[in-house]
């Protein structure tokens, strides 16, 4: 499925949606699909500082764990508390209800290091699967 427009993407299959200097972060449909049934998401603490592309948490499926690499750096201002009870939201609606956390971005120039939807699609297509 083609990626939604208006979002920026990382090589590690996360997306970021900017609203001023706050970015909402999630994982892509491709990522949720290859992970399978997600059972738990470990999110960064609200108030903590994250660096762009640093590992900040994990997504667990039944028998696999994947690191989450933050596509943006700054301060975590909110996390999606509903995922605790309903981690399946990440599978159902990765770009909506399955969002992970929000970051007050330290430097908007970080956007330059992310991909457009088209570039991300191309990257995924090149991976083959």
């Amino acid at each position: 499925m083609p990626q939604p427009e208006g979002l920026l993407y990382s090589k590690e299959h996360e997306w970021a949606k900017f609203d001023g200097d706050v970015a909402t972060v999630g994982i892509t449909d491709y990522a949720q699909n290859s992970l399978g049934d997600i059972v738990y998401v470990e999110l960064p603490r609200v108030g903590s500082a994250v660096a762009q592309f640093a590992s900040i948490g994990v997504v667990e499926s039944v028998k696999a764990v994947s690191d989450l690499f933050s596509p943006v750096g700054g301060e975590v201002v909110e996390d999606n508390a509903t995922l605790e009870a309903d981690p399946a939201a990440v599978n159902r609606d990765p770009y909506g209800a399955g969002w992970l956390y929000k970051v007050k971005v330290s430097d908007l120039a970080q956007r330059g290091l992310l991909m457009s939807a088209a570039d991300y699609d191309a990257m995924v297509a090149a991976t083959g699967t």
Partner: protein
């Protein structure tokens, strides 16, 4: 050993019983016994309050001795009659696959026969009822058991000394890495020596143990021969190298035939060599880690030395070291003083350089008795022959399965080998997981699957030396039949198991809505 399929197929659409397995082979009593059907209620759902067993005399009440505020109120445990308890656990046992019920070719776990005489010896009152704080002079027999076992292990594996302190393999890995840390601290280099090198075929406990000692883990890719490439290793060695952890034969069942070069390179870089002894059944009595340049090692006595796994433990994981590391062994160390009429054995706690104790008491002693019994029953020659026959069995099965499944590293293996269902999956959609489940339907335990991680759709098969040619033939024939079924009627395999008590489980539900206790 873990089972890590990428993605589980839901088994909800399975129609049970209707798809009788067509190409079954008759394996007679070689298969695991059929498990009785039906649910067993939880022990908490049976019994009646007041249905008590009279094990103890009546007497005074707690309130006569202790103030009320320290006492507990309700004790919400069930009261069952002894017969109810007997039926309950007998039924649970009948619903448990074991070596005693059938062939258990679980790779890397060495599911060999566990001789009953070992259990009988561990249960001798002189061992069973001996308190750990019994004074040394009244515990000479137990200390002698420990001393003799650790000495035999040292000779068998070429180490200067073993300590029986750690409880299992992973626990011994932790002890060994603490020893390494102490070694570097003594040389003043523990700040620089920060990394542990772990091949990609390594068991998960290796990197997990390294992390518990604060080491950074460097993962090393295997080369085209499924082994550690000396050049690749050299590229990651440096002044930061603390330890290189190796399993030999590795978890592909392949002997690391350049081990002496590897050890030399690691030593040259100032690092230590660690031997993960989970696969010691492949070389015991025939070659020794000490001669290969290993400085540290562990054994899983619950694999190689026939200690029963007991459904996941207890194990016993002695840690062995070369001469220059003896001072760091965990406390207590069993010592032997000669000179008197009889040798005197003692627990030595006064070891200033020691990493300290790893556990409450001295060892998983009852298992030390079992392991010693096993060594004495087989003798040095016998132990060597055991390894040779374990390797023969694995190779025989490998050759028998050559035209059934892909054998990615098809050369003489040691005590185990890996097969891959990748081509079969491409052709039919049937995966290693499905083959494993189909084996359960046919009375065999499954091999270890999806480990080691570098072989896709992998089945890791370790028959052990205690299985007969007939059993191996039956197993090979069954696997062949399953693969044929995969080609003609793949659903009959992907829907397996259908003859077990329950079908494939909803593991997603188990993890999303964890229910970890009755309430």
């Amino acid at each position: 050993m873990p089972e890590t399929p990428a993605k589980e197929t839901r088994a909800s659409e399975v129609t049970r019983l209707t798809n009788a397995v067509t190409s079954d082979v008759s394996t007679g009593d070689l298969r695991g016994s059929t498990q009785p059907a039906g649910q067993v209620p939880l022990i908490f759902e049976t019994g009646e309050t007041g249905r008590a067993n009279r094990y103890f005399p009546n007497g005074r009440s707690l309130e006569e001795f202790l103030p009320a505020h320290v006492l507990r109120g309700a004790l919400p445990l069930p009261d069952n009659s002894e017969l109810e308890v007997v039926r309950h656990f007998t039924k649970l046992s009948q619903r448990t696959f074991s070596i005693d019920t059938g062939f258990y070719p679980l790779g890397s776990c060495t599911m060999k026969y566990n001789p009953k005489v070992n259990d009988a010896m561990a249960n001798l009152p002189g061992f069973r009822d001996l308190h750990p704080f019994a004074p040394d002079e009244l515990a000479q027999g137990a200390l002698a058991v420990m001393y003799d076992l650790q000495s035999y292990l040292a000779e068998l594996f070429g180490m200067a000394q073993f300590s029986l302190n750690p409880a299992a393999g992973a626990h011994a890995e932790l002890a060994a890495l603490l020893i390494a840390k102490a070694h570097f601290a003594k040389r003043g280099t523990s700040k620089e020596r920060t990394t542990v090198i772990v091949p990609d075929t390594a068991h998960g406990t290796n990197p997990a143990s390294a992390a518990m000692v604060g080491y950074k883990v460097v993962s090393l890719k295997s080369d085209a021969r499924g082994r550690v490439g000396v050049e690749d290793l050299r590229a990651v060695l440096g002044p930061d190298t603390a330890v290189c952890m190796m399993t030999n034969p590795n978890t592909l069942g392949l002997f690391e035939d350049r081990i002496h070069e590897i050890a030399a390179a690691v030593h040259e870089a100032g690092g230590l060599m660690y031997y993960d002894g989970a696969n010691a059944n492949a070389l015991m009595g025939n070659a020794r880690p000490g001669d290969m340049g290993f400085d540290l090692m562990h054994l899983n006595l619950h694999k190689t030395f026939s200690i029963p796994h007991g459904g996941g433990g207890a194990g016993h994981g002695p840690v062995g070291v070369a001469e220059h590391l003896v001072e760091f062994l965990p406390t207590p160390v069993v010592t032997r003083r000669t000179g008197g009429e009889q040798p005197a054995y003692a627990l030595d706690f006064e070891r200033p350089a020691s990493i300290g104790p790893m556990r409450s008491f001295w060892s998983n002693f009852a298992h030390a008795v079992r392991a010693l019994t096993y060594i004495l029953a087989n003798g040095g020659e016998g132990l060597g022959e055991i390894s040779r026959l374990a390797v023969l069995n694995a190779n025989y099965l490998r050759v028998k399965l050559r035209d059934v499944l892909e054998i990615p590293y098809d050369e003489v293996c040691r005590h185990e080998f890996v097969a891959s269902a990748q081509p079969l999956k491409r052709a039919t959609g049937v995966r290693a997981l499905d083959i494993a489940k189909a084996l359960l339907d046919r009375g065999f335990h499954a091999p270890t699957i999806y480990f080691p991680l570098l072989v896709p759709e992998c089945l890791m098969i370790e028959p052990t030396e205690t299985e007969s040619k007939e059993t191996l033939d039956a197993f090979a024939a069954t696997l062949r039949a399953i693969v044929e079924a995969a080609r003609t009627d793949p659903e009959s395999v992907t829907e397996a198991p259908v003859r077990t008590l329950v079908g494939r489980l909803d593991e997603t539900r188990a993890a999303r809505q964890p229910n970890l206790r009755w309430s």
